[in-house]
């Protein structure tokens, strides 16, 4: 309960100012396509040079939590996920916004972000030592099986066709192998110099989600009168809170899945949202409504991606191992002030660590308040005429994908992938499994290669990959997941 003593540090005028500034800035940066939480936090690091350690970390903590939630804004309103964490939010969030319920979608997303986020930070406060051991338990073989488990999610993400879902996943995994092989440094499938750096995940996300949107708007043409203007409905906040609390299954599944996945170093928040979305659907009595603007989809995805924030810092704070790219940047923020994370961090620097963690708690609340405040206004984005929308999204896509690495190559990759995705969508493929393949491919590959090298030096690949409790557990869950997908595919076929 030590942390309570350090709330005073957060409520000083300077801290509050930084906290509010960090939260609002984080929401805006998070909502900007191309700016992932990692980049946003990296951009803020130079500011912390001029601040004290406590103030610097309060700013970074507030920005981290709010950028993750801010990504949902562009995911819902523009169908551009701000970061991989927000992919799942587009599935139901954007559909809901198109029906005129953008305000509701945003409110649901901010409230579930708050609940998930607070739960995650509470885990960080109370269970850090236990969780640290947990995080270490995942070796290469386990991460490999975890990636395979993620692949089994691919099959069920596309609710219409398991085969096309898997095929999209394969295309994504193949795209991920383009560029230099990370282990041996060999060039693979580099057909054009722009591909030398491989397919970068953020430009790919922008292309795969935003460009098909733009082309769809083009395809409706100029004089299309059949498109009515979307009526943006108001949504009372009380109803949103009630809605979130009544969707207990989605909320609990999302929060817990997010916390567990966030803890695992190297996998991080990228897949938390998608896996939670998939799990929530499997547990939901209203399975069929997912993907049609169903509130459970938003709640599970957003609860998960903010729940992952707290646990993702556990390996960093206790073991000095950054478990995610954003944690790596935060490590820099600590080191600049001469603070070395480690088991004794909480004893040596309680005056820095606790205000930092507390700021994430209060940051979540501020983020939720601001988010809800802007929700009904922001939802009017859906009313913007198609012509303005198409041009704006295209412009944002170009600027956003360029900004990631200041590289024209990324812009070209974004445009080509986007164009390709439009045509794939016309023929029954969807972007979410493709992106999941793009994320999971490298995780599966590098851990498989690493694991087999370790296995060769020890008792061979079979023992290494197929024995041990955690391996067996992950394999069992993957098998159940595949069986479930196959079963639901067969049973829907009978219905049809």
């Amino acid at each position: 309960m030590e942390f309570i003593y350090y709330f005073g540090e957060v409520f000083t005028p300077v801290s509050m100012l930084l906290l509010i500034g960090g939260t609002i800035g984080g929401l805006i940066l998070g909502a900007t396509p191309g700016l992932s939480p990692t980049m946003a936090v990296a951009l803020l690091i130079p500011f912390t040079f001029h601040l004290t350690a406590v103030h610097g970390l309060i700013l970074l903590g507030a920005a981290y939590t709010s950028t993750v939630a801010g990504g949902a804004v562009s995911a819902i309103l523009l169908k551009i996920p701000g970061a991989p964490a927000n992919i799942a939010t587009t599935l139901d969030g954007h559909t809901m916004a198109q029906k005129g319920d953008g305000a509701k979608a945003l409110q649901l997303s901010f409230i579930s972000s708050l609940i998930g986020g607070v739960f995650g930070v509470i885990l960080l406060i109370f269970l850090t030592p236990v969780l640290a051991q947990w995080a270490l338990a995942f070796g290469p073989s386990h991460l490999f099986w975890l990636a395979i488990l993620g692949v089994t999610v691919i099959g069920s993400l596309d609710s219409n066709s398991v085969v096309k879902g898997l095929l999209s996943g394969c295309i994504g995994m193949w795209l991920a192998t383009i560029g230099f092989d990370d282990m041996l440094g060999v060039k693979r499938f580099v057909f054009h110099p722009s591909l030398g750096g491989g397919v970068n995940i953020i430009p790919a996300l922008i292309g795969l989600f935003a460009i098909p949107q733009v082309i769809t708007m083009f395809a409706k043409g100029r004089f299309d009168t059949s498109v009515e203007q979307i009526k943006v409905k108001k949504h009372p906040i009380g109803a949103a809170i009630k809605e979130v609390l009544s969707r207990k299954i989605a909320l609990v599944v999302g929060t817990i899945t997010g916390s567990i996945i966030g803890l695992i170093p190297g996998v991080g928040g990228q897949i938390a949202g998608l896996v939670a979305y998939d799990q929530a659907r499997k547990f939901s009595p209203e399975r069929a409504k997912f993907g049609t603007g169903h509130s459970e989809g938003i709640i599970a995805a957003e609860a998960a991606n903010n729940a992952m924030v707290g646990p993702s810092l556990v390996p960093l704070l206790t073991l000095s191992i950054p478990g995610s790219p954003t944690a790596a940047v935060l490590l820099g923020g600590l080191l600049i002030h001469g603070i070395f994370p480690g088991t004794d961090l909480f004893e040596n620097h309680p005056d820095v660590v606790w205000p930092f963690i507390n700021s994430m708690l209060i940051g979540q609340v501020l983020m939720c308040i601001f988010g809800i405040y802007i929700a009904s206004f922001a939802a009017r984005v859906s009313q913007v005429p198609q012509s303005v929308m198409a041009a704006t999204v295209l412009g944002l896509a170009v600027f956003g994908s360029y900004a990631v690495q200041q590289s024209m190559g990324d812009v070209y990759v974004m445009a080509v992938l986007g164009c390709m995705m439009y045509f794939l969508e016309r023929f029954g493929f969807t972007a979410a499994p493709l992106v999941l393949g793009l994320i999971l491919g490298p995780i599966a590959e590098s851990n498989f290669v690493q694991g087999s090298m370790i296995a060769n030096a020890q008792n061979g690949a079979f023992t290494y990959f197929f024995t041990g409790g955690l391996n067996m557990l992950l394999i069992a869950v993957a098998v159940v997941s595949i069986a479930y997908s196959a079963w639901s595919e067969l049973s829907t076929r009978e219905d049809a």
Binding site: T32, L35, L43, N160, S161, V163, K164, L166, L167, C170, I171, M173, W174, T177, D181, M183, L184, V186, R188, F189, V214, I215, M217, F218, A219, K220, G221, R222, F223, D224, T225, P385, Q386, S387, V388, A390, A391, T392, L394, G395, L396, V398, F399, Y402, A403, Q406, M408, V411, Y412, A415, C419, F423, R426, F427, G428, F429, G441, A444, E445, V449
Partner: protein, 151 residues
């Protein structure tokens, strides 16, 4: 449901899959292509399966592309293509962005082209958009975009 289009599209995907597979199995060094081989093999199997299903006319999803839609999108894609693949670098991000935005907006805006008011509105929206982009990317984030001849 347009079966011919489905046959062609799944055929194209199958051809790409076979080609990816062929590259994976012929490139050296083999260790670096181990994972691509596994992926490419599954990719090819699924792609051929989908192709056969399309040939048999048993595709369940996807609406294909109508001729009208293709006609509608063509100018937009051409403008966007020139913007992204040539103008952005040659003219600079802000100049090319302004031109592309204005052209797309004017082309797809259903309002009458004969009214001066329409054009004023379009100019205002374009200037507003590019100002926000400049403020956000150049001033706040200090991203150095290609300048080309102008800014």
């Amino acid at each position: 449901m347009n079966y011919l289009q489905h046959r062609i599209s799944s055929g194209v995907i199958a051809v790409i899959a076979v080609w990816v597979c062929w590259i994976s199995y012929t490139q050296k060094p083999a260790e670096a292509f181990l994972f691509p081989r596994v992926i490419a093999t599954i990719f090819m199997t699924l792609a051929i399966w989908t192709f056969i299903k399309a040939l048999l006319g048993r595709t369940k999803t996807g609406n294909g592309l109508s001729l009208q839609a293709a006609k509608n999108m063509a100018p937009g894609i051409v403008i966007a293509g020139i913007y992204i693949f040539w103008a952005a670098k040659a003219l600079g991000f802000y100049v090319s962005g302004t031109i592309a935005f204005f052209m797309l907006l004017s082309f797809y805006d259903p309002a009458s082209n004969n009214e001066p008011k329409t054009w004023i509105k379009r100019v205002i929206i374009t200037v507003g958009f590019i100002t926000i982009m400049y403020a956000l990317f150049a001033l706040v984030l200090q991203v150095y975009t290609p300048r080309g001849m102008f800014i």
